[in-house]
């Protein structure tokens, strides 16, 4: 099983692999997507609470990645960076569309959506409170800060985050510092002085 920390190693291997090898493109793509499935799964999970929407998002990301695959150049970017860009762009676009749908149809507002039970938050031994708390924090972030948060949790380097999002490394560091501060405050709000 690939773990989060294994991914950069896989990336390094991919960077040196020639994509124009003998394998047919579909087989090469399927193998790369399988190696980096964690990216697609976590992005889909970070942006979609509803199981059906999440499945749609997984497929949309796969389809968009497959369509863009012929133009993928390993000498210009790592596969993980490339896949992250596609996954986040597709996910954010889908979130904006579903927000629009909800504004019109919903009896379910954002808070209600966030409070829906999440199947992945329940392991075989029952609910995982840590993952639920993590989801609650992620759900409160706007789509762009959510992207930053997912990349931070995935232990991506500042350089890679900058390449994925399209901002400077310095900006990444500043934004991450603020995001950490904000989350700390949300998780552990400063005690209000007691009135006698």
């Amino acid at each position: 099983m690939d773990t989060i920390t294994d991914l950069p190693v896989i990336d390094a291997i991919d960077t040196h692999a020639d994509p124009r090898q003998a394998d047919p493109p579909q087989a090469r793509f399927a193998a790369l997507l399988d190696r980096h499935r964690g990216i697609v799964l976590k992005v889909a999970h970070g942006y979609c609470r509803d199981t059906e929407d999440r499945r749609d998002l997984l497929q949309d990301i796969s389809v968009q990645a497959w369509r863009a695959f012929p133009a993928f150049d390993p000498s210009r970017s790592r596969f993980s960076t490339w896949l992250y860009r596609i996954a986040l762009n597709v996910a954010i676009s889908q979130v904006r569309r579903s927000q629009l749908r909800r504004q019109h149809h919903a009896s379910l507002d954002d808070e209600a959506m966030a409070s829906l039970p999440d199947p992945a938050a329940h392991g075989p031994d029952g609910a995982d409170a840590g993952i639920r708390a993590l989801h609650a924090v992620i759900d409160r972030l706007d789509p762009l800060n959510r992207a930053l948060m997912l990349l931070y949790l995935d232990e991506r380097s500042h350089r890679e985050i900058a390449e994925i999002l399209g901002i400077s490394e310095g900006n990444v560091a500043t934004k991450l510092h603020r995001l950490r501060q904000r989350i700390r405050e949300e998780l552990d709000p400063p005690a209000t002085p007691r009135t006698p």
Partner: protein
């Protein structure tokens, strides 16, 4: 919950998702998705395929309006001695140029959307496309309350030799006045209906455009991107 605990929870989620992937063999699902690509493309809302179709529609619109501008230009030139026909031809000519410019800009904005580009670049481009589409839909759509009459006047003169204004000046003026009132009325009704929009997506989209909801939404998204970019 501390940030380190969050990272640890994230790792657990990673492991759970990985296990789910193995159990459900989502890799096979992924390949199946590729096979079903053509069918799915029809349902993709604002995906790349929809954007490409959108871009093609703009090119078709441009071609139609280029033809219309040529017709309008030759019309007002031929009738430059008759003020109301000259005005009708010029109105159609100017409108046609505006429609060509709008369609070309929309096509260019849509053509630059590649999901492999950095997230902020693409989200900004998409928000600009939404804002521009929203503005031009209203700016070029509302005048049709009056423009249909102008186009009919030009068509009647061009293909049937009938000058509608000379034949019924009162009717033309009152119809134009009704069109102006209807424009204002459409906006007023859209603003009222936008609070309780109808379920039909096409009607809802029109109401959102007229009431300025789509424009405000795109503006908020651009503000969000600018705020995010500021260190």
């Amino acid at each position: 919950m501390e940030l380190d605990e969050m990272k640890s929870a994230w790792s657990r989620l990673d492991a759970e998702l990985d296990a789910a992937w193995t159990r459900l063999d989502l890799r096979a699902d992924g390949i199946e998705a590729l096979v079903l690509q053509d069918r799915r493309e029809r349902g993709l809302g604002l995906g790349r395929a929809a954007l490409r179709r959108f871009g093609l529609a703009q090119l078709v619109e441009m071609a139609v309006w280029i033809a219309m501008v040529i017709v309008a230009a030759s019309f007002w030139y031929d009738h430059r001695a008759t003020p109301h026909l000259l005005a009708a031809g010029l109105v159609l000519h100017v409108y046609g140029i505006a429609a060509i410019w709008a369609a070309a800009t929309r096509a260019l904005l849509a053509a630059g959307v590649y999901y492999t580009a950095p997230v902020l670049d693409i989200q900004r481009r998409l928000a600009r496309l939404r804002r521009f589409t929203s503005v031009t839909t209203v700016a070029l759509g509302l005048p049709w309350w009056c423009l249909w009459l102008v186009a009919t006047m030009v068509g009647a003169k061009l293909w049937m030799g009938i000058d509608l204004y000379t034949a019924a000046p009162g009717w033309v003026v009152s119809t134009l006045a009704f069109g102006v009132v209807a424009m204002a009325g459409s906006v007023w009704l859209a603003v009222r209906w936008s609070r309780h929009p109808p379920a039909h997506p096409w009607l809802r989209a029109i109401i959102d455009d007229l009431a300025g909801c789509n424009l405000r939404r795109a503006g908020r998204q651009l503000d969000e991107i600018e705020r995010f970019e500021r260190a």
